[in-house]
């Protein structure tokens, strides 16, 4: 995009019918690191890549729990993301206070979208510079939504946002058929593999990836560091299979399969440990 004479104000249309400021806000989302979301018939998974300022600093949080049944992953301006997160948490807890039940995911996403739209139609405001992936479960099943600065939102079966997300989207499109019936572990693996395709350099480690899961009988749980390590390990074990041709894969299948099975078992145990910590109304992640 290049600068032009119609992009100073969010309330100025271009002759082609575009609002440039809103489009620039969406560029800010594309600058954030990649976040991937996908759902099956029973669970929703968010997988994100965390960035760090320097070797000395911690990695920037990308996944936030909103309520026991809902959470978000952000890409873009973290400050704006935190502000929307606070709003969503407030709405959910107020709903719970009045109705003693969990807020329907779609309704909250619509409220966020309406809030975002207001910022595109006031000359004294600016659009939010953050895209949200909202993962949640309500009486109608698991849901995955994506909201963006323009005030648009869609429900998705699988989506990726942020830098180099096209590569992740390509992976998701390829394996879309297998998602609805996938188990939770398989779903997480798909999410991490999609995330991996968006990496330009380096690799996924337990320090720079953050995974979150939610399901009908599963509170929104964030898996980081030790909790996500088993999945990262399983990912690496599978790698030789992906790069080899079909014929060579025959011989290779035995070894990686065993390794993957052991990692899966370890993954399950570590995952259950993370669950036990977050039993019932799971505690909010302190940060």
């Amino acid at each position: 995009m290049f600068r032009n004479q119609y992009d100073t104000d969010v309330t100025t249309w271009s002759p082609q019918g575009r609002l440039f400021q809103v489009e620039y806000a969406m560029e800010a989302v594309k600058q954030g690191s990649c976040a991937v979301g996908l759902k099956s018939d029973t669970h929703v998974v968010l997988a994100t890549l965390k960035r760090s300022q320097s070797e000395l600093s911690s990695f920037q949080r990308k996944v936030f729990k909103i309520d026991d049944h809902m959470g978000i992953a952000i890409a873009g301006l973290t400050g704006d993301g935190r502000s929307l997160c606070k709003y969503m948490r407030n709405e959910c807890i107020n709903h719970r206070y009045v109705y003693e039940s969990s807020m329907p995911v779609g309704r909250l996403v619509r409220q966020i979208a309406d809030k975002s739209q207001v910022c595109t139609q006031r000359s004294w405001k600016r659009p939010y510079g953050v895209g949200l992936l909202v993962a949640g479960v309500d009486p109608r099943g698991p849901h995955l939504f994506s909201s963006c600065p323009s005030g648009n939102y869609y429900e998705y079966k699988a989506i990726a946002i942020g830098a180099r997300s096209q590569a992740a989207k390509t992976y998701l499109e390829k394996h879309l058929e297998s998602f609805p019936s996938a188990t939770l572990d398989e779903l997480v693996q798909h999410g991490l593999r999609a995330l991996q395709s968006s990496l330009s350099e380096g690799e996924l480690t337990d320090a720079n990836s953050s995974v979150a899961v939610v399901g009908k009988d599963l509170s929104f749980t964030i898996l980081e560091d030790e909790a996500v390590q088993p999945y990262i390990t399983a990912l690496k074990e599978d790698e030789p299979m992906q790069t080899e041709g079909a014929a060579a894969a025959e011989e290779q299948r035995e070894a990686p399969a065993e390794g993957a099975a052991a990692a899966e078992g370890g993954g399950q145990a570590a995952y259950e440990a993370a669950l036990r910590e977050g039993e019932g109304p799971a505690p909010m992640e302190a940060d």
Binding site: Y97, Y99, P104, G106, R107, R110
Partner: protein
């Protein structure tokens, strides 16, 4: 111990025994008043009412005017039954004989009320607003009876905190996740759920019948018969009630429906009722 005689001498201060001829010096008389725990430092009267409030023409609810009497409700195998009469009484005058005291919220939930009819109409309005909002959003989600119950509890409690209560005893009945749901909310926000729920006179009259005969897995005929018996008892023994009833039924298959008003057979020719003291001990 007998209380010792105390002096009220300004020199010595209160509650102190001392010589009757103690003389108050200026040092004592002019000392500044000590702060006393039960009196405001400002010097105002304790428990003073802000004069501005006394001029306020608004009044808060003190008494109900047009009232409904008992409501009774039971769970049974397929759902819930909610029954009450259709009287709006003005004190003890049976003034409005066709008031509907049951409100259908949606296909899963009904709310019935005893107490002030106008307050119940206001509550029905609030619920209507919620239902309309659900309709507008159009995402297939409806308010569940448990959510209606929690919402009404919050409304009643908040009004009570403003010393301006909605003068109703509410019964919320419906199907929650394919299970029968029955709850009650009182006028100060007291709330609970149970297998059978009653308000007003039915607390004393119908509850013993329910305790004896209501089962969560009873059939619809048994449940209806129990409801008729309870309604009859309330009409026999409650002065301010009429022989015109409505029963609402909420089940998974049929949704929520309110019956047309009907009457029950009453007998006033019981011998004991005609001559109540004839067989009493010591009667002549």
């Amino acid at each position: 111990m007998l209380p010792r005689p105390t002096t009220h001498s300004k020199a010595l201060g209160p509650g102190v025994a001392g010589p009757e001829l103690a003389v108050a010096t200026s040092a004592v008389l002019d000392r500044p008043p000590q702060p006393i725990a039960h009196l405001p430092l400002s010097g105002a009267q304790p428990c003073a009412v802000d004069p501005a409030v006394l001029g306020d023409p608004r009044q808060h609810t003190k008494y109900p005017y047009v009232t409904g009497t008992s409501v009774m409700a039971i769970k049974y195998k397929d759902g819930v039954l909610v029954g009450c009469d259709t009287l709006g009484a003005y004190g003890t005058t049976k003034r409005y004989k066709s008031t509907q005291r049951i409100y259908r919220v949606n296909s899963k939930c009904v709310v019935a009320a005893g107490g002030e009819i106008s307050d119940f109409q206001y509550i029905s309005n609030l619920l209507d607003e919620l239902t309309t909002e659900d309709y507008r959003i159009d995402d297939g989600l409806e308010l569940t009876p448990q959510e209606v119950h929690s919402y009404l509890c919050r409304v009643m409690y908040n009004r009570r905190n403003k010393f301006d209560p909605l003068w109703n005893s509410l019964v919320v009945g419906g199907m929650q996740d394919s299970q029968p749901f029955l709850g009650m909310v009182g006028m100060v926000g007291t709330h609970y759920t149970d297998s059978h729920v009653t308000t007003g006179f039915a607390n004393q009259l119908a509850r013993p019948l329910f305790r004896e005969r209501q089962q969560d897995d009873m059939s619809e005929e048994d449940a209806l018969q129990l409801m008729y018996d309870a309604l009859k008892v309330c009409y026999y023994r409650d002065k301010v009630s009429i022989n015109k009833f409505q029963i609402a039924k909420v089940t998974k298959e049929t949704g929520a429906s309110i019956s047309e008003p009907f009457a029950l057979d009453m007998r006033w020719d019981y011998k004991l009722f005609a001559q109540p003291t004839k067989w009493a001990v010591g009667a002549w």
